[in-house]
Symmetry: C2
Subunit: 148 residues, 2 copies
Amino acid sequence: MSYASFASMPCTLSRPAALLGERWTLLLLRQIFLGTRRFEDFQTTMEISRSVLTDRLNVLLQEGVLKRVPYQDDGRTRYEYRLTQKGKDLYPVLMALRTWGEKWMAPEEEESFHLHHRDCGGGVRAKVECTDCGAELTARDVQVTARS
Amino acid sequence: MSYASFASMPCTLSRPAALLGERWTLLLLRQIFLGTRRFEDFQTTMEISRSVLTDRLNVLLQEGVLKRVPYQDDGRTRYEYRLTQKGKDLYPVLMALRTWGEKWMAPEEEESFHLHHRDCGGGVRAKVECTDCGAELTARDVQVTARS
DNA sequence: TAGCTGAGTTCGAAAAACGAACGCAAGGGA
DNA sequence: TCCCTTGCGTTCGTTTTTCGAACTCAGCTA
């Protein structure tokens, strides 16, 4: 009656934080954004236990972050896991993590992959901005107002 | 020998994802960004068990996300938990979660707090952009290249 | 001296995660 | 036909985490 309550709180930050804050979920999303789609591939590349993998995939399905899409395997129909639009919209969350990781967790030039803008070849980074004036914002630029 | 290995992988996404992907950690950071600083306050407002709270705070201390800062309480010196610069730089991660939550998890106008730019009063949102041309990017605009 | 408070620590019970084995449906080869 | 393989789970006994109530401890305060 405590962790679960954050998942149903009327707060647009606590609900996503509770969902993605379950063990393995962020790492699973990373793997999905890197292109993994099938149960067996998640299991072998991540070394996650099969029962937990089943559970996490089901939660993401229920939440509408993933969907099951049929594919052909030697003539048989099987299903793979793909991002819905809701899932794809999590991209900024992953990129924010990576932007932070690049700044604070990269002892040297170690990255297992590079990201760049297809059109111009530039780098990729997450930022927070004002929807009105477009300024880049940090925590101190933002006023928090409790709601009645 | 599996979840922990992501925390030491040479990947600037998996390391932050493993760190913040532990249960309670994202919710704890949310609470910190909302202004909570003291053990007792975390414990009562979040209803987290005291032993897990101790553990999570210690991990964030070790990682340099939080620091202990002395304060006076009835003449005695106590310590509270505050964000370091590394911790403050997690703001975009939280804002990306919230931006997503606003779009996909808000049935009606329910938010427990409002955020706005101090200077102009505008809204706040996270986005991903190209460091060269400044274009806003989605997953499909970004090329992933494995490193040798 | 006794009580209170903030900040943990301890410990037995409950829940979650682990991992190896099992199930199962469909295709392929002998 | 029978058996093997594959992909995708499910089961189940063991280990790890989490829970939560009680305990500790230091330093005020009455």
